[in-house]
């Protein structure tokens, strides 16, 4: 180890020099101590006084949140001032007493004041602590009148949200609320302070970073009486960026009204770029309530409503697609060569397989059925046959080409995936083999199949445009406070189905028949001036059998579905409607889809013609005859 003998040199005089070095060191350290003695013992009173008069105060100035506008620039959400009450800890000697006084004076909840006060322990003592938000003008005046009795209490103005259309699009827009303790611990919110408002849901949450802006503030030095000595630093707040959404607020409201209080969801989408034009989850709620403390009775009402107003059904509601799924089964059959448009079956009202009878919704049967008629009348037997010939995996493969069974990435929280079953899925999920009998319900969109309204809209849009899957998106552009565009979002293609145009055409003819041919299940969605194509669906909440007949409780009633696109010849718009526990799709969902499409096309017309169109709307049932001439007239109008 010690190879180093050759290095060793005799240490001559230097080692004696450690003594003078030690003396130098000791002297210098002694000087430090002397200085500390001077500062800490002799001058202590001076410095004590200086430290006690030395007070910093921070006056935060909250940034205005960016606005949310619809596609036409109509403001949907903006800000209004709201007052909040803060106390500055270092200014208040007896905090408990102060809280008592405030509670009595302003008739505030003492416990709530306490709770907010305790939340902010351990922060800089010159930083104001928000103890009540959204106080009224009257309360502000009381505080101002009693200013002298309330040292260290401050009223600050903060912008909060104002909703131009009240409850409209609440699920899409989301709401803001006070930042939670949990959020404050997350690195993404490291710049936030307790009492700040942040997006809690919907667009407000997903686009928090753009919308929030940055708070400003002034750092002041004040003396022991709170008089400002000087401004140490100052920064002005930066207004957040605004968003231009893809939705049309007029169409949105029309679609919400079309539901008439029924529970459900609707998504309207541009088939050629994936822009979401309306995003409805019904019933809706009042987003402005979430900025303060929600009154208990309203909160209770929301929670107990069996229509679940707080759920975002358009994004997170997963429903069996029912017969709307038949368009995919049909495409799978056509592409696989199992059927063509002339393939017929004879339908006795049931399909027999392995000694078990699978019933059609129509007990008497549909007679001789080809592809067009199978879609028009929504014949189950035809699809049972197709399902058996295809097998579940070929149906699943078709659904995967439409990118179903996974998120489409709309950019909001809590988007659900839906479910497309296959043999591999069942093996993984349950560890069991797939039974051929399970394929038949899948072929008609029952069984394990689940889709969200967004996916339903995307599916029918892809059929309409014959094979392109666009990412459904909600934001057109981000604009800065001066109105300059910062980011603009272009349509994004997620993929193509790779299905022949011929197959699409055959299915689309069937969808046209659903709405327009006599005996079609979707006649309620018919418009007099525009050719609509669509598909009804009824998804069972309670399984087939005797229970079903008895099931008349709201929770047990079927969901009604309708998906459509229009115009048939040159598709522009797709719509998907789900009515929860409403009954048959043709009866409950198709009329809503019809009304939505009606207002979509009315909104395309110049305003003067619109009134005329609204009158016509009163008698949609008589429309079909006139329908043929109208397209030409529409062109001249535009």
């Amino acid at each position: 180890m010690i190879k180093g003998q050759r290095y060793v040199r005799e240490l001559a005089q230097p080692r004696q020099r450690t003594i003078p070095l030690a003396i130098v060191v000791t002297v210098l350290f002694f000087l430090l101590l002397l200085r500390l003695w001077y500062l800490q013992i002799i001058k202590v009173d001076d410095y004590r006084a200086m430290s006690e008069n030395n007070r910093l105060r921070f006056l935060p100035v909250a940034a205005s949140r960016g606005a949310l506008m619809d596609r036409n620039g109509t403001v949907m959400v903006n800000n209004r001032p709201s007052f909040s009450l803060s106390i500055i800890p270092q200014e208040v000697k007896d905090v408990e007493g102060m809280l008592d006084r405030l509670a009595a004076l302003l008739k505030l909840d003492r416990a709530e004041l306490q709770e907010r006060w305790e939340k902010t322990k351990g922060r800089a003592r010159y930083y104001p602590v928000v103890i009540a938000v959204n106080i009224t003008q009257d309360q502000v005046e009381i505080v101002e009148e009693n200013r002298l009795r309330l040292p260290g209490v401050e009223v600050s103005v903060k912008p909060i949200r104002e909703y131009a259309f009240q409850n409209s699009a609440a699920h899409l827009l989301g709401y803001i609320g006070e930042v939670s303790d949990k959020e404050l611990d997350a690195p993404a919110y490291s710049d936030y302070n307790p009492g700040d408002y942040v997006g809690k849901n919907g667009i407000e949450k997903a686009w928090e970073k753009e919308l929030h802006g940055s708070d400003g503030g002034r750092q002041l030095e004040v003396d022991s009486r709170g008089r400002v000595l000087r401004v140490l630093s100052e920064s002005s707040p930066t207004v957040g960026n605004s968003l231009v959404l893809t939705v049309d607020s007029r169409l949105q409201r029309a679609a919400e009204q079309a539901f008439g209080g029924q529970a459900g969801a609707a998504v309207v989408m541009n088939v050629n770029n994936g822009e979401v034009l309306a995003f409805v989850s019904s019933p809706t709620f009042d987003p402005s309530l979430f900025a303060g403390r929600i009154p208990t009775d309203i909160w209770k009402k929301y929670l107990e409503d069996k229509r679940h107003p707080l759920e975002n059904k358009a994004l997170a509601g997963q429903y069996p697609p029912g017969s709307t799924f038949k368009m995919l089964t049909a495409l799978a059959g056509l592409e696989a060569g199992v059927i063509n448009e002339n393939t017929t079956i004879s339908d006795p009202g049931y399909y027999e397989m392995g000694g078990h009878k699978f019933r059609d919704w129509k007990a008497s049967g549909h007679g001789v059925v080809n592809l067009r008629k199978s879609l028009k009348e929504s014949c189950d037997t035809y699809y049972y046959m197709l399902g058996e010939k295809l097998g579940v995996d070929r149906i699943a493969a078709m659904a995967e080409r439409f990118m179903l069974g996974k998120e489409l990435g709309i950019g909001l929280q809590n988007e659900k995936k839906g479910l497309i079953p296959s043999t591999a899925w069942k093996l993984k999920r349950f560890g069991k083999k797939w039974f051929p009998g399970e394929t038949l319900p899948v072929a008609i969109g029952q069984g394990y199949v689940l889709m969200t309204p967004i996916q339903l809209a995307s599916m029918v849009a892809t059929v309409a445009n014959e094979g392109t899957i666009y990412r459904p998106h909600l934001v057109k552009k981000v604009v800065d406070p001066d109105g300059k565009t910062i980011k603009e979002f272009m349509p994004e293609t997620l993929g193509t189905t790779g299905i022949s145009s011929a197959s699409f055409k055959k299915v689309k003819q069937g969808l046209y028949a659903v709405v327009n041919d006599p005996g079609g299940t979707g006649a309620n969605a018919r418009l007099w001036d525009v050719k609509v194509a669509g598909k009804t669906g009824t998804s069972q909440v309670v399984k087939l059998g005797e229970d079903r007949k008895k099931a008349r409780k709201y929770e047990h009633m079927d969901h009604g579905l309708f998906v459509a696109f229009a115009p048939y010849d040159k598709p522009e718009v797709a719509v998907a409607v789900v009515v929860e526990h409403g009954g048959g799709g043709g009866a409950v969902a198709a009329p809503i889809a019809g009304k939505i499409l009606r207002s979509y096309f009315d909104l395309q017309k110049p305003p003067t013609k619109q009134k005329y169109a609204e009158k016509e709307e009163q008698e949609p049932a008589e429309a079909p005859v006139k329908r043929q001439e109208m397209p030409a007239e529409r062109e001249t109008e535009e």
């Binding site: 290095y7 040199r9 080692r15 450690t18 003594i19 060191v25 101590l33 200085r35 800490q40 611990d185």
Partner: protein, 366 residues
């Protein structure tokens, strides 16, 4: 493999003093950063990790025979000078100075490493250099060159604090070897104009301001003088017994700049008073004197030089930092070893402790 004598001669005093200061530092960092809102691990936990890592590193260094440093000294020196040049060419800029070098997977601050390397380089040089009756001016020319090259490169970054420290360390080692009086007088005559030149040409306005503020802190209450005043208020208002742990208003209201790093001592002085600072200063004094004692009882010239160099490094850091926060020296951004928060300072100081330990353990071998 490891000689039993190494174990029996293990220097517990050295490790004990260092650990005591480190733990007081961690305790203080907890208080100093209590007012911060942080994501991630708190500073005091990170500091504990650095302390543990540093102690381990010092043991690794101690287990090596310090004589191997002599073999590598000029290689280290050459490599570090290259790194310093690289910093100036491709370094990372932050806060108006270029000090960091990005090596892809981590960043280093070569000027910090230079403090240790200058100790090793000078030890090697003086170990093979015999001067009778003290160093003459002529004999000082080579070491001056060895010192000037890195010192000027560091000043160019600009990092006046580190450059000063490197010079102080080197001068301390030369003093250990011994000067002739004539040499001291000559240097005094040369350096005064040199300082004037440095002031006029090299110093950045913020450095000049710091010096001027130091002479007269009232000159700019809001600007750089603000830090010194706030620090003095913190220290002075501590009184004899202090304001109590985590109760210092200056620290908890965040009047102090960089209060967990360079101004950690002010936080401590405010909360523990003269009573606390006395204990801490005595601990530092013991550590420094113990370092000199290691040099004194070492029978080997190289060991003595290294021990004096490392001790000088710790000494100048402590004196300049404490002097700075109590308004005796200008604010130069020098951390207090083992006490201020920071990984780089901890690593450099602990490598130094490792070298001291290595010398101390082998004191009976030569």
């Amino acid at each position: 493999m490891i000689d039993r004598r190494l174990v029996t001669n293990f220097d517990w005093t050295l490790i004990g003093l260092v650990s005591a200061i480190c733990l007081m530092g961690v305790l203080n960092i907890y208080s100093a950063s209590a007012a911060y809102k942080l994501g991630g691990a708190p500073y005091y936990i990170k500091q504990l990790n650095w302390m543990a890592f540093g102690l381990l590193l010092s043991l690794v260094v101690a287990s090596l025979d310090y004589h191997i440093l002599e073999d590598f000294s000029y290689w280290f020196y050459g490599f570090l000078v290259l790194l310093l040049i690289a910093v100036l060419l491709v370094g990372k800029r932050s806060l108006g100075a270029t000090r960091w070098l990005n090596l892809g997977f981590f960043t280093i601050q070569p000027s910090e490493l230079m403090k240790i390397v200058i100790v090793i380089t000078f030890a090697r040089f003086f170990n093979n250099f015999h001067s009778v009756g003290g160093l003459t001016v002529k004999e000082m020319l080579i070491p001056l060159g060895l010192l000037a090259l890195p010192a000027l490169l560091i000043m160019k970054q600009p990092d006046l604090g580190t450059a000063t420290l490197v010079v102080m360390i080197a001068v301390s080692m030369a003093f250990y070897i011994g000067f002739r009086w004539a040499t001291i007088v000559t240097f005094a005559l040369v350096t005064v104009p040199l300082f004037w030149f440095g002031w006029a040409v090299y110093m950045k306005p913020y450095q000049k301001n710091r010096v001027l503020d130091f002479i007269n802190p009232e000159r700019s209450r809001l600007g750089s003088g603000y830090h010194i005043i706030q620090s003095k208020i913190a220290v002075g208002s501590g009184g004899f017994w202090g304001k109590g742990y985590v109760k210092g208003t200056q620290a908890q209201l965040r009047f102090l700049p960089e209060q967990h790093t360079d101004f950690a001592f002010s936080v401590f002085a405010e909360e523990w008073g003269f009573f606390g600072t006395l204990i801490l200063i005595v601990l530092y004094l013991c550590l420094i004197l113990w370092g000199l004692n290691i040099a004194r009882r070492c029978n080997d010239r190289l060991g003595g030089l290294l021990a004096v160099g490392v001790t000088a490094m710790l000494f100048w850091h402590s004196v300049i930092n404490i002097g700075m926060v109590i308004g005796l020296f200008p604010v130069v951004g020098v951390p207090l070893p083992f006490f201020s928060y920071g990984g780089t300072s901890m690593i450099t100081s602990m490598v130094g402790i490792g070298i001291l330990q290595s010398i101390s353990m082998r004191r009976f071998m030569f």
